[in-house]
């Protein structure tokens, strides 16, 4: 390749080590591929650990009438029919096997009295469907996959950030990145790549996401020529912490409502009666988030601008057993004993439904050799994701992506690495050190979050979105002049500078798609277009990179076969 860089060579390189990345790695390994796994944090710290409530799979352990058809229907209805039907079908059909597989690898779920995996109720799911471990299901999932990966011997490159995908003609050839610890550069040569880097939560100040969620994979794929889809659909989880200020946005699991938690405003009214009298607190996340937002906006919020979520009517021991980390989180961070009184909660940016456009069966993007799974990919969740459908998504499509990437690699020759692409990537990373003046990256990140929070939030309108595009444009020249203090050794300011580029790019994609979709659907609420539009129900927004400028177009949503359509009619 080139003597200037530390280089590594694999058949399949996986970027991101949350649930999707790990599951893809295990599958690619099972197919006989040489697999490398690169991640920005230490192994086992990815945001999958923050998934609390459970993993949705129609196992029928508690409600015997559940089956994949009902799960499929719930997912489509939750996504307001914008979902890729085939992904929703595969997901519902395969999730139970993926859960059983976890158990066979050592995961220990909570049990029913007859010794099977216990399942709990969740928003938008017709039946008790979420397999869970108290309120720390994601930790159980990531630890199980991580241990399995360690056992099978995956090459893991921890604390390494990928800044560019390398290409050989049309196909991918590998990736370029830097080690966070030492700041040295590395080149990874691979026949195929899987992107599993999660979402873009860090574009908003109030978010449940950690520093890692800066839209890296979406930006890398876009720059490499892949299409992005449905970027306007950003999920605001209805219940994040609102007080004290430092914890604002930290997730309060939907399992609180799944276990019987009640939402009230400051007048003591159970306000979900107004917004969704049938499903109440267990309505879908888009509806509950808008309801809380509206209550606060209209002056019926709590002291710190949220709603009250109460589970204290349940026995204290039950609450501590089923929601242990919520109990500790509120006790230690907010001085609230949730077994005795209500929590203050409000919407927090949580999840990206949009992402890299992929083929349903193989998770292949539009670039040969490039695959994507989990939050980084689009399609499964449509306009709104149901709680519990993310962990199952990671497993079902992580596995499919790993399999297809390994098969692609097996049929391909080794790609060539173009040294000029590496040199370009290196130049980009070193440039900020060469500037003696300029501002630090933190104020730019702050301003980006202000823009997205104020103008591209839960409720949107044309004027705000246009203003947001202007403001985002104004941040670009500032970012281009950022100055770095210190050396390349573990330098968060330097890391943020590169991450911000991804955030800015993908925030623009989100805003453009939001501006284009002149209707309200799922997580996308336009004040100026408050209703469904049957024409928009048939269209996906597609973003692509046309010679360096962002192009937006609409494509028809793939048409569902008659038997599935009938199935949705029957269950209506």
């Amino acid at each position: 390749m080139t003597a200037n860089y530390e280089t590594h060579e694999h058949d399949v390189l996986i970027i991101g080590a949350g649930g999707a990345g790990l599951r893809a790695a295990l599958e690619a390994l099972a197919q006989g591929a040489r697999v490398g796994l690169v991640c920005k944090s230490l192994l086992g710290k990815a945001h999958t650990v923050m998934a609390e409530g459970g993993i949705a799979a129609a196992m029928g352990n508690v409600d015997k009438s559940d089956d994949w058809r009902t799960h499929f229907g719930d997912t489509m209805r939750g996504g307001k029919f914008l979902n890729n039907w085939r992904m929703a079908q595969l997901h519902a059909q395969e999730a139970p096997d993926r859960v059983r597989e976890l158990e066979q690898w050592g995961a220990l779920f909570d049990r029913t009295p007859t010794g099977d995996i216990l399942q709990r109720a969740f928003g938008g799911h017709t039946f008790k469907r979420l397999c869970h471990v108290g309120d720390r299901t994601g930790l159980e999932l990531i630890r199980t996959l991580q241990d399995r990966g360690v056992e099978l011997g995956i090459d893991v490159f921890m604390e390494c950030t990928v800044t560019r995908l390398l290409k050989d003609g049309d196909r991918v050839a590998g990736a370029f990145g830097y080690w966070r610890e030492q700041g040295r550069f590395a080149a990874f040569k691979a026949k195929s790549l899987v992107i599993a880097t999660g979402g873009i939560g860090k574009a908003w100040r109030v978010t449940s996401n950690s520093w890692e969620y800066t839209a890296d994979g979406m930006a890398l794929a876009y720059e490499a020529g892949a299409e992005l889809m449905d970027m306007e659909f950003v999920q605001f989880h209805p219940t994040g912490m609102v007080w004290p200020p430092g914890v604002q946005g930290i997730l309060v699991t939907e399992a609180v409502r799944g276990e019987g938690g009640i939402l009230r405003n400051k007048l003591g009214e159970r306000f979900m009666e107004k917004y969704d009298p049938k499903r109440m607190e267990l309505s879908t996340r888009d509806v509950v988030a808008r309801s809380i937002y509206t209550e606060v906006k209209e002056g019926r919020g709590s002291e710190h601008g949220g709603a009250f979520l109460d589970i204290s009517h349940k026995p204290a021991e039950y609450v501590k057993k089923k929601l242990p980390s919520m109990y500790h989180q509120f006790k230690e961070l907010a001085d609230v004993d949730i077994t005795k009184g209500p929590m203050e909660v409000g919407p927090t940016c949580h999840y990206m439904m949009g992402g890299i456009r992929v083929d349903a069966e193989t998770a292949a993007s539009t670039v040969p050799g490039l695959y994507a799974a989990g939050e980084a990919a689009a399609g499964l969740h449509g306009a709104n994701r149901l709680g519990g459908n993310s962990l199952s998504d990671l497993l079902v499509f992580g596995r499919r992506a790993g399999k297809a990437a390994a098969e692609f690699a097996a049929q391909s020759s080794a790609p060539n690495i173009d040294p000029s692409q590496l040199a370009d990537a290196e130049r980009e990373m070193l440039a900020p050190f060469e500037r003696a003046d300029g501002e630090f990256p933190y104020p730019i990140h702050h301003d980006l979050q202000e823009t997205m929070g104020a103008l591209v939030g839960i409720f949107r309108n044309e004027e705000d979105l246009k203003k947001a595009l202007v403001q985002l444009d104004g941040l670009k020249p500032r970012l281009a002049k950022v100055r770095i203090d210190g050396s390349r050794m573990f330098n968060p300011g330097w890391h943020l500078t590169r991450d911000l580029k991804n955030l800015l790019l993908i925030s623009e994609a989100v805003t453009r798609c939001a501006l284009a979709r002149r209707e309200s659907r799922g997580a996308h609420s336009r004040i100026d277009f408050p209703n469904y539009d049957t024409e928009w129900e048939k269209k996906n927004n597609i973003i692509s990179n046309e010679g360096g400028s962002m192009k937006l177009q609409q494509r028809p949503v793939p048409e569902m076969p008659a038997e599935l359509r009938q199935l949705l009619e029957e269950k209506k």
Partner: protein, 243 residues
């Protein structure tokens, strides 16, 4: 609200010094918030690991006023604010930069532990009571505070011959899994140096997940080692068999 004074270690493997930073206090602020404020306004290259900020990932471990803590969970108002708050990296691991240490040794130890292997032809039914016991161990978020405080590692540096509390907890989780079929007892005795632990319970005290590391993981494992290697009847039997 007044300002707080943080005294933060700045340096690398070749040494360093403490640097004082004045940080404005806010209600409910935690030490990690203060460190982020330093990054944003004073020193953008201050190296700190963190992820979830909700005590669920175990990334932000450091020593606060000499005590190993998750900085995301350590409230500023729980500390004496009339004196500087001293924040230093974990002592049991080599410093990379500032508050970031090289914890790769832990990942190496983990690789020695044989994975879960179900009994052949097993029926996947388990009683919640049996699962409860193991779920306690599986709460571990790998913050490595227990490793940091364990004197076998911290003071005696026995990293080569000792696994540390974290990996006793992991091994206990596998050994007590109702459907597991592998014995990790020889590994615990020979390679992981379980015998070095003299049950001072320092690990239990610092565990942010409140796992009863000593009572529920280490002591039962020690009993299993004793049963396997030092039970007089078994020893006699072995002698006769010549094994």
């Amino acid at each position: 609200m007044p300002d707080a004074l943080l005294r933060v270690f700045r340096g690398d493997k070749d040494g360093g010094q403490s640097v004082d930073y004045k940080v404005p206090l806010a209600p409910g602020m935690v030490v990690l918030d203060a460190l982020h404020s330093i990054q944003a306004h004073q020193s953008p290259d201050l190296a700190v690991r963190w992820n979830c900020k909700a005590a669920k990932c175990g990334s932000c471990s450091a020593e606060v006023n000499g005590r190993p803590r998750l900085t995301c969970k350590t409230r500023m108002d729980s500390l004496p604010l009339d004196q500087p708050i001293v924040v230093s990296p974990l002592k049991a691991f080599p410093v990379i930069k500032d508050l970031v240490t090289d914890v790769s040794w832990n990942y190496k130890v983990n690789r020695k532990i044989p994975a879960f292997k179900p009994k052949p032809g097993v029926e996947w039914k388990m009683d919640q009571r049996d699962v409860d016991r193991v779920q306690e161990f599986r709460k571990c978020i790998e913050c490595f505070l227990c490793q940091n405080v364990c004197h076998v590692l911290r003071d005696h540096g026995k990293h080569e011959s000792f696994g540390g509390p974290r990996f006793f907890v992991r091994t206990a989780g596998l050994e007590m899994h109702p459907l597991d079929s592998v014995s990790r007892i020889p590994l615990l005795k020979n390679e992981m140096g379980l015998g070095y632990c003299n049950i001072t319970k320092c690990c239990t005290e610092v565990c942010p997940e409140e796992i009863h590391i000593t009572d529920n993981a280490i002591i039962p494992l020690k009993e299993r080692v004793v049963d396997e290697y030092y039970d007089p009847v078994t020893m006699l039997f072995r002698k006769i068999r010549g094994s």
